[in-house]
Symmetry: C2
Subunit: 324 residues, 2 copies
DNA sequence: TTGAAAGCGCTAACAG
DNA sequence: CTGTTAGCGCTTTCAA
């Protein structure tokens, strides 16, 4: 895959490299280069499929036009929605996106960020990979060092405690509070909260919203907290059975993530229960009517994060927390 | 985000840049540089968080260590599975991945590939964005020109007619034939095939497998062919109603993509029908038992494609078609 | 062991 | 209009 260089073009056309460079940079008219020469260059370049050497330009300009993005994984389709938003904005601003996944590993997350920065990314978008509550907490030291190095960065969906970084999150607390309250107003008196017990601020805020709404209405909170990534595990099943068998079984569920809600809905149905579920996520066409959805503006979040990052790269000040 | 250069390190440590370069390249021992000096360099670099300038290296070596990948979209989770496979292999070989989405636009696909190549990618992985049958066919000219320019490239999931490019696909024909045959052996006599009518070879092969299996058993084929991306559209619903109301309603369905199958399953259930469905895709935990799944080795495909691409980049010959 | 020097492909003055 | 020159940060001989 040998590539054509500017020198070769110049030699081929018997003109100077400067001329070629000028024309290709669109400064031909400015330097009063003959229309004819310009045209010769343009057409030669097109016909030969010349691509300027990006590394040489980047070496000169010290910017890459690349934004790195790190996700825990891309299997969950909401990550895809975030990517859509990010790409939409970056594309408009002539940035390219370099995506990697940390596969839920904190160590890999670091390695990947290092790689992205080594690759000269102008900025970084990060959905941090958070541990469960029974695991060691997220270590903010590395991210802190990046902040100190002045690496432009925006977090998505989750804050990292202990460091000051711009962050785009959902209105988790408010939406949870609202959803639970509306369950109560619809007559629910025993709302069970089902959630991954993950150290992500988004989850924590949802739990907080639930707890507060329940408390404000003088009800007892009850929880099913899961420690596993895979929602097909037995964990939910056994804990659910306990709840349903208890003296005061729930008459509504509040679920913090849509995957669990799908599984829960299926379990309830196959046990013959019809109990409404309020959950974060949106209904796939085939799910059941007892689901009440709390919409999640993932694409918006992606867009917003990309916008903020660009602002930050271009030196404008950026607020620390943006709610979507 | 000013970055430390090798020169600065050398000056700081009062030694030559060559020495620093040599040590950092791991050639310290080879050039018999004192352990002491080596250690000084290493620790300085670590403490200062030095990252070598990637563009300068790439400019020298004329390779980037970057592989580009283009997907129609990342919202479908099977794309995420492919990414997993790709990343697993690339990570082992110290390549980085640059992902973009074409958003189902042929034009954008080209623009994105150009950008990736401009960015110096060493190779390209592509899931081409295919049009529907009522649209203009995929234009293979651009891809053909890349092949002529000797750009290392591997296609995933779909072949492009008219160009010779290595391609990793599923055993679509065989699996379809097998699934339909097994429906017939289970007593089905009227199997309706439901599919996007997309100009993708994967889909076409599945349709071919269906047609052949039905024909081989002297049954009549029947189809519901959809022209839309979004499976929540009315199209399926009305066409399904026609089928169910016909004098010989289907007693089994064969569906080429899992999204449609989910929707179909839901429609059938809400109309009170219990008709088995064979489909490409895998069962989410909450779906119904009447689904018979044809497993799709997406992660395997991603791995295989990445392996082939690396072979190709390193100059080894690669077969045109690989089945997973 | 280390320094000097050339060069990767392109850009940006500057002097014709 | 066009050629010359001096880098961008790093790698790689070739000498010392």
């Amino acid at each position: 895959m040998k590539r054509l260089t500017m020198k070769q073009i110049a030699d081929q056309l018997n003109i100077s490299r400067t001329t070629v460079s000028l024309v290709l940079k669109g400064k031909g008219d400015q330097y009063r280069i003959s229309k004819d020469t310009q045209q010769r260059i343009i057409s030669y370049v097109e016909q030969a499929g010349y691509r300027p050497n990006y590394f040489a330009s980047a070496l000169n300009s010290r910017t890459s036009g690349i934004i790195g993005a790190v996700f825990p994984d891309l299997f969950e389709s909401f990550m895809g929605s975030i990517v859509r938003g990010i790409e939409t904005v970056l594309y408009e601003h002539d940035y390219s996106l370099m995506i990697s996944t940390s596969r839920f590993s904190h160590q890999r997350e670091q390695a990947i960020i290092e790689n992205i920065l080594y690759r000269g990314a102008d900025g970084l978008l990060l959905v941090p990979s958070m541990p469960y509550h029974h695991e060691t907490p997220y270590n903010s030291e590395y991210i802190g060092s990046l902040v100190k190095q002045d690496v432009p960065m925006v977090l998505i969906d989750r804050k990292i405690k202990g460091v000051t970084v711009p962050c785009v999150v959902q209105k988790d607390y408010d939406r949870s509070y609202g959803a639970v309250t509306s369950c109560i107003q619809n007559g629910a008196g025993r709302i069970c909260c089902v959630s991954f017990y993950l150290q992500a601020t988004s989850i924590e805020e949802r739990l907080r919203g639930y707890a507060r709404a329940v408390r404000d209405h003088h009800l007892e909170p009850s929880y099913i907290l899961l420690r596993e990534q895979n929602p097909s595990s037995r964990d939910l099943q056994t804990k659910l059975a306990d709840q349903l068998r208890s003296k005061e079984p729930p008459d509504a569920f509040f679920v913090t993530t849509s995957g669990i809600a799908d599984k829960l809905s299926w379990l309830l149905r196959s046990e013959g229960f019809t109990i409404p579920i309020a959950r974060f996520g949106s209904t796939a066409p085939w799910t059941h009517q007892e689901l009440m959805d709390i919409p999640q503006p993932h694409t918006e979040m992606g867009k917003k994060a990309a916008q903020l990052l660009i602002e930050r790269i271009e030196g404008r000040p950026v607020e620390e927390i943006t709610y979507c």
